[in-house]
């Protein structure tokens, strides 16, 4: 039993290594931005340690540069973070624990990329999520600190090029699941289309970034759900296939052991 839990924690850690690498790159860019706009370097460390969110931090800093009122910044951050409500409900369905404290602890460390790692899993254990968190969190803080102190050393071209890292990582995260479930391509295309429409259309483009993401995501997901409802049985068989494909490692009993449980839930 102990070994099983340990494996789950370590498996989480192993799965988080790629995220940690990208986090270092992205938060490095954040640190560079902080230093460039004349904030003290330690401020990058502080913001990253207490926020641990890419889009929110960039939004906050951009508004602070223009000395926007604090309550307006708070409101903007809330709107940007509305997507965490959707992520939270979604993770809530996968979690094995009912403990409020454990759930709250996981909630503190919901992040887009960590969410993307577990988005394709049917079940997530507390230990597994706790294994996912430490490396990316440390790299997030370390990266922004390093970026803030080293911004003068980096060529401007490289700094600009690094701006695309976050988005390319998202592309790398959404395409592979869509290749297994083609319906997701429709969702991806629709969400991208609505987001672009809201961004480029006059008047509509006054909608803030946060609202734009929420509107585009909700509309795309609702339309997809109405057109292609997911049947529980289908879902499970895809899951079994995915498990067989992706997880070739033998110490996978804990996850396959969860299958009968999710089976009963579906029916």
């Amino acid at each position: 039993m102990k070994q099983k839990i340990g494996t789950t924690f370590l498996k989480g850690m192993r799965d988080s290594i790629p995220v940690a690498i990208v986090y270092f790159v992205v938060s490095f860019t954040f640190g560079v931005t902080i230093a460039k706009y004349g904030f003290p370097c330690w401020y990058a460390t502080l913001l990253s340690a207490i926020n641990f969110t890419s889009v929110g931090q960039f939004t906050g800093v951009r508004m602070m540069i223009e000395s926007v009122a604090i309550y307006e910044i708070g409101l903007a951050i809330l709107v940007v973070n509305l997507r965490y409500i959707l992520c939270g409900i979604s993770i809530s369905q996968k979690l094995d624990t009912k403990s409020k404290w454990k759930r709250m602890l996981i909630g503190m460390f919901i992040a887009d990329e960590l969410y993307a790692v577990i988005a394709n899993k049917q079940k997530v254990t507390f230990k597994y999520y706790m294994g996912l968190v430490p490396l990316p969190y440390i790299c997030w803080i370390a990266g922004s600190t390093a970026g803030a102190y080293m911004d003068a050393l980096l060529p401007e071209r490289l700094q600009m090029a690094m701006g695309i890292a976050l988005y390319c990582m998202f592309i790398g995260l959404i395409i592979p699941p869509a290749m297994r479930d083609k319906r997701l391509f429709f969702t991806i295309g629709l969400a991208a289309g609505i987001s672009c429409l809201l961004y480029f259309t006059p008047y509509l483009n006054r909608i803030s970034f946060g609202f734009r993401i929420v509107i585009a995501a909700v509309v795309a997901a609702v339309v997809s759900a109405l057109l292609f409802p997911v049947s529980g049985i289908d879902d499970n068989s895809t899951y079994v296939r995915e498990t067989l494909q992706d997880e070739t490692s033998p110490q996978n009993e804990d996850e396959t052991g969860d299958l009968p449980a999710s089976d009963t839930e579906v029916s």
């Binding site: 906050g60 992520c87 695309i164 969400a191 585009a216 995501a217 049947s231």
Partner: protein, 103 residues
């Protein structure tokens, strides 16, 4: 920079980030039974990530041409099986960096 202003803002940002994170996951504990909601939750992750990427990715490098090429590189790499997502990100950055000398 006014120290008091940036410290209070940091605290406000923290509260506004943590609340939407912990409230739904802590208090929304019952199982979703509705097939529609289940389907909705199935499609939401891809929808959120996709909406965040487009069109922001085209302005991410300060040059629409290099950003578009970077996007194309990322899409092509993502379609090739067995390429992990962080390789997709790193290769795209290198390509954009190389291109920035030409444009």
């Amino acid at each position: 920079m006014d120290l008091k202003y940036i410290l209070i803002t940091a605290a406000v940002m923290c509260v506004c980030t943590v609340l939407p994170r912990i409230i739904p996951i802590t208090f929304f504990t019952h199982r979703v039974k509705s097939r529609f909601i289940k389907s909705f939750l199935h499609y939401v992750p891809s929808a959120i990530l996709s909406a965040m990427v487009f069109p922001a990715i085209f302005f991410a490098t300060g040059n629409v041409i290099t950003a578009t090429v970077g996007t194309a590189v990322a899409l092509i790499l993502a379609f090739i099986k067995k390429i992990p997502f962080f390789i997709v990100a790193i290769v795209s950055v290198i390509v954009v960096f190389g291109l920035s000398f030409a444009f």
